[in-house]
Amino acid sequence: MSKSPATREFARRERPISPHLTVYRPPITMTMSIIHRITGGALYFGTLLVALWLMAAASSQATFDWANWAFGTWLGRIILFGYTWALMHHMLGGVRHLIWDTGAGLEKHTASKIAWATLAGSILLTLLIWIAGTMARGA
């Protein structure tokens, strides 16, 4: 298909494009929405760890000690720390959604503030849980 010079000139001209994901600076609400889904997916598979722990507790001393050892290794602790954060983030994100379900907090800047609060709150709660856990272990 041959194009006339005028058509080619038109195609070359810089024209505005609609905001697309790759050229669009994601607002915090969008990022938190994505993280909400990712943490939900992570928690889904995290239930395997809960099942493992309960089965180990219901099993022999040796099995329980092995599970305790595995959770206590550095890799185990990193996974559990991530699990704690995912749980707290998903919980606070869920509360945010429940607030939105009532029709409140949907104004642009309010929504952004709540989204930042979700992130800050999840980090704070995760640290508090681990500090409390360490204190319980020490006591």
Binding site: A51, L54, A58, M91, G133
Partner: protein, 131 residues
């Protein structure tokens, strides 16, 4: 519903309000209900784990065998697993477009949920009644 009625549904279908998927808002509502229930349940679970951090096997067994703990733990599992099953189904429906693969994954989602639930609750019952 006054005047010219252009709604093709039968009066019964309209009253039930379930739509073509026969689910209506049941899925949405269950997700919210379990979300609300999960808040206190998960906080209990986290608190329980903090209190048990570093405890030996005997101590953990005794704690889980407590009737109150066993009951609440069963609720944590049922509410949490129901919530996650619905959530994963939404994720599958959003991203998997092949009809066969979608159905297979939705079935697998249910199997996974039930497997985790049955294994966990069996362990709880064993601790509670097995002595």
């Amino acid at each position: 519903m006054s005047g010219k009625n252009t709604d093709m549904r039968t009066p019964l279908a309209r009253v039930r309000g379930l739509g073509s998927a026969r689910e209506g808002t049941g899925h949405f509502w269950r997700q919210r209900l379990t979300a609300i229930a999960n808040i206190p349940l998960i906080l209990f679970f986290v608190g329980f784990l903090i209190a048990l951090n570093g405890a030996d096997h005997e101590h953990v067994r005794a704690a889980l065998a407590n009737p109150f703990v066993a009951l609440v733990m069963a609720l944590v599992l049922i509410s949490g697993l129901t919530h996650m099953r619905i959530g994963m189904q939404v994720i599958i429906e959003d991203y998997v477009h092949g009809e066969g693969m979608k159905l297979a994954l939705i079935a697998l989602n249910t199997f996974f949920t039930i497997a985790v639930g049955v294994a966990s609750i069996f362990a709880l019952l064993k601790l509670a009644f097995g002595g």
